[in-house]
Amino acid sequence: MTDFKQIENSLKREAKKLLESAEVPVVLAYARGYDEKHPMPFAAKSVADVEKIVFNEYCNFNMARYIMRFPDAAKIAVAAKAADSRAIVVLIQEEKVRREDLVILGISASGMKDPKTDQLIDSRTTGGLYNPVEYDILLGEEIRGQKIVSPYEVLAEYEAMDKEARWAFWKSQLDKCIRCYACRKACPMCYCDPCFIDQNKPRWADKAPQSPGNMMYHLTRFHHLAGRCIDCGECSRACPVDIPLYLFHKKVAKECEEMFGQAAGMKLEDKPVLVDFRVEDSDQILK
């Protein structure tokens, strides 16, 4: 089991070192929210801020989400768990941030909990990785010997469904949507300003929380995240009406991996699959 206290201490130590050196003006980590169980994303900007940093099993936020909030910072240090580091890799691939402008404080953590249910997060709802793929400093020990779960295992049940049943399932799920856009806010890959759904010219979809607009918003969002979603599962955890968005994102990620042979955010030198092509891609993928 991960020693969260030890990671918190090393996070504080590294943050202090970085802020003192004055090379890094911002350290992105977590701070206490209104109670222990609800930490919040936190940007430490001075040595005095370091004391506020916490790390516990409820620190699920994908901190890659906040990197682009600090365009003026010369360098940003960011605490990154496995999924966060993949998100950072995608941001670097998309040239949203440069690798040399980041100090990635990698965290190997298992046993994260969802504050909503106080249960361990089901590893099938996330990418199933415990160790960051890219980091400068690794806090805590690399996790070995954990059971490796295929991130796509959970899909089998839905893929086996009859088409009509699947439509009924997604319609009932997406009809619940209240269009709070918490999924968009939680997602490290959703950085467009404005988002297509906020555009008025053209108005892509109805903004009322009704079936047609919901369908358009979600289907398009699934498409926009194709080959970029790094499977952190934050969208589904952020959702106040518990729509299992991770299922659809996983399915699209699986198809992309099968068709184009590459999972999102694993290697710095890759390109996201939809901004890339191979002449040898088969026409069969369109059938």
Binding site: W167, K171, L219, F277, L286
Partner: protein
């Protein structure tokens, strides 16, 4: 009255649209269910166009582009191929009918292929019947 589907055709200016012209000038017959929109390249097609077309009452969407390797802009259709393949998978997993969405590479000299594809696709859509799942209820649209 028999069901006459509405089919949206999105055709690339350099190949498929010219191919459609050729089909016309060579007096080939094909069903009149297709409404063609011309775009400069198949990679111009935003996947939202396809979802939106289904919402606004299209029974089928046919996308036409240059053969891979023949793109007027060299690589446009190669990007489009990957993108539209993902669109198809999304339609499938959402439980919609992916058969209602078809991508064909039709060059400017393939007027007869254009006519054939449209005939075949229209027949297929007629078999499938009206597209109801995504179509927006007209009353709701007026609110």
């Amino acid at each position: 009255m028999s069901f006459e589907p509405k089919i949206l055709g999105i055709a690339c200016n350099w190949c498929t649209y010219t191919g459609a012209d050729l089909a016309g000038t060579t007096r080939l017959h094909y069903p009149q269910n297709l409404r063609v929109v011309r775009v400069m390249c198949s990679s111009r097609i935003n996947p939202s166009f396809i979802f939106r077309a289904f919402q606004l009452g299209a029974d089928g969407v046919l996308v036409g582009g240059c053969h891979p390797g023949d793109c007027h802009y060299n690589t446009g259709n190669l990007y489009a191929r990957r993108r539209l393949a993902v669109t198809k998978k999304i339609l499938e997993f959402a439980g919609l009918e992916p058969e209602r969405f078809r991508v064909e590479w039709i060059s400017a000299s393939e007027g007869n292929k254009f006519a054939e594809v449209v005939t075949e696709f229209t027949a297929r859509i007629k078999e499938l019947g009206p597209q109801q799942k995504l179509k927006i209820d007209e009353l709701l649209e007026k609110i």
